[in-house]
């Protein structure tokens, strides 16, 4: 008797678990594709369009993750490490692709499997590079993003638009303006450092012929990048409380009526935001490419956005791939760009009139995305990122770039092997 009640209790406990797991066909025979992704404004229209187009072949369901990318990753990593087979499709921040691929949490795409984003010709160079790992394509680029130099036209007057960091510092001093650039101990600091290092002509991490990742950071170019970060943290261009400034703080500071700053480096979301808040002020907003470290060296700006990955433990890979092909199609890309303010990854939409209307600075972004520098594609990206944050924050503490360089290189070398305390 006791044993029977025990069994019954066990069965009762297992039943709801079974209902949560798997989950591949509980919509009346239609395979369900569970899509784990941050809560984005464009999710609903895009999913509705694809589900309608599928006509019962599959049904995409969004499993919403936190808005903060670090929070998204933590939840995903925990589930993936536990081999959760309810994860069919993952919206991965571009920097997670290497980590998820190496850990075996996502499976690569076969050549020819992807109809819209499967070849180098179809996709802008920056997003394309971010989706590759170890000679295979693990990510399907979904949308992209890059940071621009924003300025107030009326305040700049007839001064030339700064094209290099030296010019930017000179213009800021001339205008008596701060430069609104993030300084918080967050991923945004790594975004800045990576862009500066790449623009100076080196990389944080390179992968050798055997596929071994190594800390590159050539001394000369890295010192130039660190010198720029040091100057960003000094008066008069450093904003007050820089050590805690994030992207959104800068957007607000720049958008204020009596803003102390006429110059800002930020993602394009600042533009739809000002259009909504103050359409008059929006007319004074102008964007320019991310400044170069040296005249003649190409500026290699930050690269953001999502790659789609297929969960390794999914029970219906075919349906997930079909969903990817729908989500990356030009119509959906256009919806994401116009409602989300983030450029498409498709070359063919680089100057799309519909997108251009809501993102007037699209051509600058498209050009920049061809040159953009992905952050290191390595399984230990998170360690690399934490190491950079640990050493470079706050910017105002960088006294001697040479000393900072030695410290950073030492910590990064251990971090790259997951052997650093961070």
């Amino acid at each position: 008797m006791r044993r029977r009640t025990g069994l019954l209790a066990a069965a009762l406990m297992v039943a709801p678990l079974a209902a949560c797991g798997g989950g591949s066909d509980d919509a009346g025979g239609t395979p369900v594709v569970n899509w784990y992704i941050g809560n984005e404004g464009w999710l609903d229209p895009v999913i509705e369009a694809c589900n309608a187009e599928a006509g019962g072949a599959y049904e995409i369901r969004a499993e919403s993750l936190p808005t903060n990318p670090d929070g998204q990753r933590e939840q995903l990593v925990r589930r993936l490490a536990a081999e959760d087979d309810s994860i069919d499709l993952i919206g991965m921040d571009v920097v997670w692709t290497g980590e998820f691929a190496q850990a075996g949490w996502i499976s690569p795409f076969e050549p020819g499997e992807l109809t819209n984003v499967g070849t180098e010709e179809q996709v802008l160079a920056g997003p394309w590079a971010s989706a590759q790992y170890d000679g295979q394509q693990y990510g399907a680029p979904l949308n992209s993003n890059t940071r621009l130099l924003w300025y107030r036209e009326s305040r700049l007057g007839d001064r030339p638009v700064p094209a290099t960091w030296d010019e930017l510092f000179a213009t800021a001093e001339d205008l008596g303006s701060t430069i609104q650039e993030t300084g918080a101990r967050a991923e945004s600091l790594v975004v800045l450092f990576n862009a500066l290092v790449e623009s100076a002509g080196t990389s944080i991490v390179t992968v050798d012929d055997d596929g071994e990742a190594q800390v590159a950071l050539e001394e000369g170019p890295t010192l130039k990048a660190l010198e720029i970060m040091k100057r960003l943290g000094e008066a008069p261009v450093a904003p007050a409380g820089q050590g805690n400034l994030g992207e959104d703080d800068n957007r607000l500071a720049f958008q204020a009526e009596d803003a102390a700053s006429s110059l800002m480096i930020n993602w394009p979301f600042v533009y739809p935001s000002v259009v909504e808040a103050d359409p008059e002020l929006a007319k004074d907003y102008r964007a320019a490419p991310f400044p170069a470290v040296e005249p003649g060296l190409p500026a290699r700006a930050a690269l953001g956005g999502y790659n789609l990955g297929i969960g390794r433990y999914t029970q219906d890979r075919e349906a997930a791939v079909a969903a990817v092909n729908c989500l990356t199609a030009p119509e959906q890309q256009r919806t994401i760009a116009t409602t989300g303010g983030q450029p498409s990854v498709l070359r063919e939409l680089g100057e799309d009139p519909a997108i251009l209307e809501s993102l007037p600075f699209l051509p600058i972004m498209t050009a920049q995305l061809e040159e953009a520098a992905p952050r290191p594609v390595t399984p230990n990206y998170n360690d690399v990122s934490l190491a950079v944050r640990t050493v470079l924050h706050p910017l105002s503490d960088i006294d001697d770039p040479q000393q900072t360089y030695d410290e950073l290189k030492d910590l990064l070398e251990r971090a790259l092997d997951s052997q650093a305390v961070l």
Binding site: G104, R185, L245, P379, N382, P394, S418
Partner: protein, 315 residues
Amino acid sequence: MATTQTPPATGSVKAGGKHSGGSGGGRFQTDRAKAERKLGLKLAAPAAIVMLAVTAYPIGYALYLSLFRYDLRTPDQNAFVGFDNYALILTSSVWWQAVLSTTVITVVSVALELVLGLALALVMHRALSLRRSVRVAILVPYGIITVISAYAFAFAVAPDTGFIGDGDPLGSRLGGWAVIILTEVWKTTPFMSLLLLAGLASVDESLQEAAKVDGATATQRLFRVTLPNMKGAILVALLFRALDAFRIFDTVYVQTAGAFETQTISGLGYNALITRVNLGLGSAISILLFLFIILIAFIFVKGFKTNLGTVKGEG
């Protein structure tokens, strides 16, 4: 009872009573103590077994994991590495910085809490009217979840939503430290004062009266009579708070995320275990934190040379 067993006829009542009262009473207490101890063990056993199951097992497993390179991101490289993880941690400047930061936060916040907590305990003890309201008002912060109080203070000092301070205190070194310690003190002083209140209540009123009659001032009575008599309660309060404060995580995570050298040992453990899923390294950090906690408890108990039993009024 023991004295009545001695017949008055044999020897003097006084001496015999004294003698048999001493030895007989002693034997009797030993028996009783033995029985009590046995019963106590039986009563405590189920709780102890449950505690062992839910704490000893995870601690043992963490100890085991800490001897491996065990990283969920690179499963093919997992291997037994002995004490390598510990060597790695103990030679890292980031680790020692975190040890220093955690110690500073612990010492400063617990010291402030002791002073404020004692003041609040005296208020609660001496309140003539509205006793219940005063106690509830003082205890409210302790009932608030740490993450919420951390956010509350972060918003209170933020440049856009804040009303405390100029600019952005969390954007500077001194400000970051001050806000973290302020949040900790605000949140946990009530706990300290509650423990101290229990101590105050256990001090015999007649001692106060005697001191008053001898002409001692209020200050003298506090430092010469009250505090020495509640040494046990102070020890317990300091020990509990120091152990808690040393494991500080939420406040720092929410307010500075470890910026400006405010990273704590728990923060490093979180980064290794949850963010980097390097379970080997993270477990080693947890074990070291555990050892620190044991060390603190040891120092307190030995250093104060107080029998913890005094708190229960048995000493």
